[in-house]
């Protein structure tokens, strides 16, 4: 049975070589699912999300000695995960040969045929709308809309002011509403 720790206990265990791996294992168990969904909403494909999630934890492990607990564990992990996402999406965009007019069309077509997408027409349309947003704005929207994350926490993760995040979310909502208005 996996022992249960709180964040304070985990930080202490992380400082000691003998217990570091056990503590990290707890971290993986604790945070993998929530990080997965955040990554998945950005990259859409399960295979890509799985790769990025693993990379996130490997990166976290490699840098665990530098984590001093100034930020919350979750904040630190989210930061790594979302940076992995952005790096991945930038590379994908640079190497893909999609239509300039509707770059999201290709991705949505893939999504329709994805066995790990079970959304209805409306949810598919919403994903299409989300793909018209700049990546960071889409990230903000996902964090707020799906996870109901507080702006203060978002600000710590993304390094953007609360005011800017609120404005970004507001604009994202307006863009999506405009995109959806003719479809419903």
């Amino acid at each position: 049975m996996t022992p249960s720790y709180n964040e304070k206990e985990v930080l202490i265990l992380l400082q000691q070589e003998q217990t570091q791996k056990e503590a990290f294992s707890w971290i993986v168990a604790q945070y993998s699912e929530q990080l997965y969904w955040q990554i998945r909403r950005m990259v859409l494909s399960h295979e890509d999300a799985n790769d990025l999630l693993q990379n996130t934890f490997i990166k976290a492990w490699t840098n665990i000695d530098y984590f001093r607990g100034e930020a919350k564990l979750s904040t630190w992990l989210y930061r790594i995960a979302l940076n992995e996402c952005l790096t991945f999406l930038n590379k994908q965009r640079a190497s893909s040969l999609v239509s300039i007019d509707e770059p999201e069309a290709d991705v949505v077509t893939k999504l329709e045929g994805d066995p790990y997408f079970s959304g209805d027409e409306a949810q598919l349309l919403l994903q299409k709308a989300l793909l018209t947003l700049p990546e960071k704005q889409r990230m903000v929207f996902n964090l707020k809309y799906y996870q109901e994350m507080k702006y203060e926490e978002m600000s710590n993760i993304l390094g953007t002011s609360v005011g800017a995040l609120k404005a970004s979310y507001h604009h994202a909502v307006k863009k999506i509403e405009y995109f959806l208005k003719d479809s419903f």
């Binding site: 492990w61 997408f117 079970s118 959304g119 409306a122």
Partner: protein
Amino acid sequence: MKEEDEIMRKCGNGNPFTVPEGYFDHFRDNVMERLPEKEAQTLRKPGRTMWSKVKPWFYMTAVFAGMLLGIHFMLNLTSSDQPGKAPVRAEKEMVTDQDVDVMMDRSMMDDYSLYECLTEAE
């Protein structure tokens, strides 16, 4: 009323994505297996490289050169309006860099010995 209510009404905020069965159950073990081994934090014996041998001499030469420069600047900057100290300063002013060079050559002292002399004199 939240600003995203309209979107919520049309599309909901349910999760349209799924994962293969048992994915999260096995994820932790998969990741833990892939973690790279941490490099052992062993104390290394300090190696005697050429630089480590030359370093003390280099620093002493730099200190000596810095002191000479400092003395040179001070002699140029200080004025002669302190009568009590004037004779000493005058003595120092009479000794030029060239004189110092000649003295150094004739003393046949190496840099380290000269450094020791100067620091003892201080």
